[in-house]
């Protein structure tokens, strides 16, 4: 690393870099500063090195002391004045054994300490030491990390153990519960089985009872029947209380006829009558059904016709020739069928009915498909519409515009209504007065609002004026100072001509420092009278020397505050004037009305300021 004595300084610097104690580094920096200064003042390198060495010995050595206090005392005991050479040889030996270059070079008058080698070795050793320290530190950190890791792992281990314990317990609990539930299920199963058996038993009992009951019923009924029979017989046989029928005289039949003998003929007649009534009933029912059928057929026909008329106009609008063809075909078929069915409506034979129903079905199918197609089209169109939807912003814009328009129209209507009312009002005095009152009120309101706005404007103006006056005051102060400066400067100039110039100089600089830089720059051109005019036109307060201190005009103030572009009043065009006017620049207007007569404007504004 260190090869020549010229590199010493660099090497030492490098060495310093390794010393990482902050206070030391600071010192090193100081040293560096000092070094640089000294560099320019160019002192001998030797001196510097020695001083450095001194410094380093006084500053570097305490560092290891603080860092590793165990190693340093040995060093202090190791080498004394007496055993330097032995120490050197020992160290040399040690160093060589460690594989470092030798510290001594054999010369004719014994071993001589090679400073470069020593330094290199020291550097190497230090680096080694540093590296060792670093590794130690790293290892320590690693250790700490691993320790904490270990702690964490132990902690987690215990936690997991706890969890395991808990889950084990839970598991056993659940197992127990499961066992219990299984037991329960088993018992319930048993119960169910029992119940089922019971149910079966009961069902069988019920069935047997039912059969028994039926049997009994039948038996009893039979017995009852027998008893009835017997009773009947007994009653018939018994003579004591027989049925009696007393009647004064027999009456004629209700129909006035005489009753007929029962013969085969009468039976046949009865049958015939019965069938006649039945037939009549069926006839009437048949008639009803026929009528109903006819009605329904009529309805069907009408429906069909309607369908045809509905479907026909759609035909040309259908896109696709295939559809057209099929439609035409079917429609022609339909027409045929329709005609034929119309003819055969009265016949109401099987064939015609089938045709009619078939045609209706066909029509219906077509109508359905048509409607479905329309539906799908509608949905498609809807989707397309959704796809091509106008962006929202446009919509909103349009909406806003329309709203505005509506508002406008509303206003229009309102005013029109008002006018109308005003026109109509004379007919009724009271309402007219009321309306007038209303209008007065409205007018008042409006005036109030106007007044308010005026007030606000006035306030704004006041605020502005205040600002301006403040600025003017400031400027006047500055002007005063400037004037003073100028006076002193003039005095100085005057005095410069006198032999006391040198004595006055420091005073002058003092006054200069009191002013800002711009003032200083301003001062300089003042010396040249040629530039004076120019400066007059440029700056606001660089008026003619003769003019007294005045408050500036607002326009000038504006200009100084960079509110309006800096232009010479003479070059301002009327057009630009007007633009300024339009901006509501009242003071500017004032000034220009005055035809650029600065002095008058100044006086005017000055007066105003004074008054305020």
């Amino acid at each position: 690393m260190c090869t020549t004595s010229k590199d010493y300084t660099g090497a030492i610097e490098h060495l310093f870099m390794f010393l990482d104690a902050p206070e030391l580094q600071n010192e090193a920096e100081d040293v560096n500063c000092w070094w640089e200064i000294k560099d320019t003042s160019c002192s001998s390198s030797r001196y510097r090195i020695s001083s450095l060495r001194q410094y380093s010995q006084s500053s570097v050595l305490p560092l290891p002391m603080t860092r590793n206090p165990y190693t340093m005392p040995t060093i202090s005991a190791f080498c004394t004045e007496d055993n330097v050479s032995e120490c050197i040889s020992y160290i040399n030996q040690e160093v060589s054994s460690l594989g470092f270059p030798l510290l001594c070079t054999e010369s004719n008058n014994g071993p001589e300490l090679n400073l470069v080698a020593v330094l290199n070795n020291v550097y190497n050793l230090l680096q080694l030491h540093r590296r060792c320290l670093q590794t130690v530190e790293e290892i320590e950190v690693e250790q700490v990390k691993s320790n904490s890791n270990m702690d964490y792992l132990q902690l987690s281990n215990t936690r997991l153990k706890d969890q395991l314990e808990l889950s084990k317990r839970e598991n056993t609990g659940l197992l127990e519960r499961e066992r219990q539930l299984q037991l329960k299920v088993k018992s319930l199963h048993n119960c169910l089985k029992n119940e089922k058996e019971e149910v079966q038993k009961l069902q069988s009992i019920i069935a047997s009872r039912a059969t028994q009951y039926n049997h009994d019923m039948k038996r009893k009924e039979r017995e009852f029947g027998k008893l009835k029979e017997r009773l009947n017989q007994l009653l018939i046989d018994k003579k004591d209380k027989k049925q009696t029928f007393e009647v004064l005289n027999y009456v004629g039949r209700s129909d006035g006829k005489r009753s007929l003998w029962k013969t085969g003929k009468t039976e046949a007649r009865h049958e015939g009558e019965m069938y006649k009534t039945l037939l009549n009933d069926y006839d009437s029912r048949h008639k009803d059904l026929l009528m109903e059928n006819a009605e329904l057929k009529k309805v069907l026909q009408q429906m069909k016709r309607d369908m045809v008329t509905i479907l026909r106009p759609r035909k040309p609008s259908q896109s696709g020739e295939k559809h057209d063809d099929s439609l035409e075909q079917t429609s022609s078929e339909e027409d045929e069928v329709c005609d034929s069915s119309r003819e055969s409506l009265e016949l109401s034979c099987e064939h015609a009915r089938e045709q009619l129903t078939n045609s209706i079905r066909q029509q219906w199918r077509r109508l359905k498909s048509h409607v479905e197609r329309l539906d799908s089209q509608a949905s498609l169109v809807g989707e397309r519409a959704n796809m091509n939807a106008i962006p929202k912003e446009v919509h909103e814009e349009e909406m806003d515009r329309l709203k505005l328009e509506i508002q406008q129209y509303k206003d229009f209507i309102h005013t029109q209504q008002q006018l109308l009312q005003q026109l109509n009002s004379p007919c009724d005095d009271e309402t007219a007065s009321l309306l007038n009152d209303c209008y007065m009120q409205e007018e008042k309101e409006r005036l109030k609002e106007d007044w308010k706005s005026f007030e606000e404007k006035r306030k704004n103006f006041e605020a502005e004026r205040k600002n301006f006056t403040e600025a003017a005051i400031r400027l006047s102060h500055e002007r005063k100072a400037f004037e003073e400066d100028r006076a002193t400067w003039l005095k100085h100039q005057f005095l410069n001509l006198t032999p006391f110039g040198d004595q006055m100089k420091p005073q002058m600089s003092k006054s200069q420092s009191a002013l800002s830089g711009c003032a200083e720059s301003e001062v300089r051109p003042m010396s040249t009278p040629a530039k004076l005019n120019k400066s007059l036109s440029h700056t606001a307060f660089s008026t003619s020397r003769a003019s007294p201190a005045k408050t500036p005009s607002t326009a000038d103030l504006y200009r100084t505050h960079c509110l309006i572009p800096e232009k010479s009043p003479s070059t301002i065009h009327p057009k630009q004037d007007s633009s300024i006017l339009r901006n509501g620049d009242v003071p500017a207007q004032l000034r220009h009305v005055n035809g650029g007569a600065n002095c008058r404007a100044y006086t005017f504004t000055g007066d105003r300021n004074g008054s305020i």
């Binding site: 009653l235 209380k241 049925q243 209700s254 049958e271």
Partner: protein, 446 residues
């Protein structure tokens, strides 16, 4: 609306003659025949005992009075007041007596339903029909009076015999597919005979006049079945009321169910109008008003006034939970009646005893609900107009028509409680029967 004076009657025996001219009432053992219009007594007959049953012959010429306990039937003639006829069934007993449709024969059912005796007033002939079944409605005559259907039980099987009423000729005799036949009923046109099973099984069998089985209908099994049955006057519909609180309507072409009318406890059918009877107690306290009322209203003073209010839907109908352990539980549709024009059907569900339901048969939906303050005793349609009269055992008569509902106080003395109502065949007057009294209402709602 004119109320007649109140007459006495017993056993609710009060009948208007089929021609509408006479009014026969029974008071104990006396039979009183009055003119319907003048209410003057035309005839007075005295029977041998207290009359239990009384019936006009179809030609309004004879009146039958039956005294079941004595097994006696007495027949009186209007044309010949001194003509008499007495039938004594003797020791065999008597449980039911009725006229045949021609008004010349009397059918007596003996005790234990041993037989039906047919007595002829024209000839001395007596016919016996054996094995009649004791059931809800074992005998039914067709509307035209030509045929009689009789339920029979032989050898634990049900049979139906169809007789020609003219000469009691047995036209058809067939076995029915019923477990325990409960009733037979002819369709109004006399061509179809509806036969239904007892309440243990829901089964309706429809037979043609010639004994062919036309159709069988069963709505459900394993539950109490049919409770009532009604033909529409046009024979187009057969309404079957059952213990599940529903009415099923069959059509006359396919004999399939057209619709089903439920009787829900909560009515939220927006097409139905719910009329609720609201009672207004007379204001007691102001003496003047009291006296005034006494003067104007007479005996109705102590009766509460009532009126109908239309209830906003949904309406909760009071439901009585029946005691299912006892016989004949109060559930199910017990009475149904079609209006004379076939337009409306009135029904009553027994566990909603205060409510009468009126159904529109054109729309096949609920039309009106009449919620009364007390249980409905009886309702009957006007034979001419779509007008329903009902009573609830208090002193009021209620009338419903498609136009609305009205409650009328009966201005009779001594707490007249209307037990049943009967329309005169012209529809111009109503007979109100109390416990021991009767009252004729002419020109109701006019």
């Amino acid at each position: 609306m004119n109320f007649s004076e109140v007459f006495k009657q017993s056993n609710q025996l009060c009948r208007v003659s089929p021609d509408g001219k006479y009014l026969a009432t029974c008071v104990q053992y006396r039979l009183v025949v009055r003119d319907v219009n003048t209410l003057q007594i035309l005839h007075l007959y005295t029977c041998l005992d207290q009359i239990v049953h009384m019936e006009w012959s179809s030609d309004s010429l004879f009146i039958l009075c039956a005294m079941y306990k004595r097994g006696l039937v007495q027949v009186w003639s209007l044309e010949q007041p001194d003509w008499y006829c007495k039938i004594d069934e003797g020791s065999i007993g008597l449980v039911s007596s009725r006229w045949s449709p021609d008004g010349r024969h009397i059918l007596n059912t003996t005790e234990f339903h041993l037989r039906v005796t047919v007595w002829s007033l024209c000839t001395k002939a007596v016919s016996y029909i054996k094995y009649p079944k004791a059931c809800q409605k074992g005998i039914d005559f067709s509307r035209d009076g030509c045929y009689m259907a009789l339920a029979e039980r032989r050898d634990c099987r049900d049979y139906v015999s169809v007789f020609v009423c003219d000469d009691w000729h047995l036209l058809r005799h067939f076995e029915t597919e019923t477990q325990d036949l409960a009733g037979v009923e002819w369709s109004p046109n006399g061509c179809v005979l509806a036969v239904w099973d007892s309440c243990l099984e829901y089964k309706v069998l429809l037979y043609s006049l010639d004994g062919r089985l036309l159709s069988t209908f069963s709505a459900y099994e394993w539950s109490l079945g049919i409770k009532s049955l009604a033909w529409s006057p046009s024979s187009q519909f057969l309404a079957i009321g059952s213990y599940d609180g529903k009415v099923r309507i069959l059509n006359h072409i396919t004999w399939k169910k057209v619709t089903e009318f439920d009787h829900p406890a909560s009515i939220n059918n927006t097409k139905a109008v719910v009329y609720k009877e609201v009672e207004r107690k007379p204001v007691v306290g102001s003496a003047d008003l009291f006296i005034q009322q006494r003067i104007t209203m007479g005996s109705t003073l102590f009766n509460t006034q009532s009126k109908y209010e239309i209830c906003p839907l949904p309406v909760q109908v009071p439901v009585v939970k029946p005691d299912l352990d006892r016989a004949n539980p109060k559930v199910g549709v017990s009475s149904m009646a079609f209006s004379s024009d076939n337009r409306y059907l009135a029904t009553k569900n027994d566990n909603m005893a205060c409510v009468v339901w009126v159904w529109d048969m054109q729309r096949l939906g609920l039309l009106a609900v009449l919620e009364q303050t007390s249980a409905v005793r009886c309702f009957q349609w006007d034979p001419r107009r779509p007008r329903l009269a009902l009573c609830t055992g208090n002193a009021k008569l209620y009338l419903w028509s498609p136009a609305g509902c009205v409650s009328v106080q009966v201005p009779a003395e001594g707490g007249f409680q209307v037990q049943s109502v009967t329309w005169h065949c012209s529809g111009d007057s109503l007979i109100l029967l109390g416990k021991e009294q009767l009252c004729l209402v002419s020109h109701p709602c006019r």
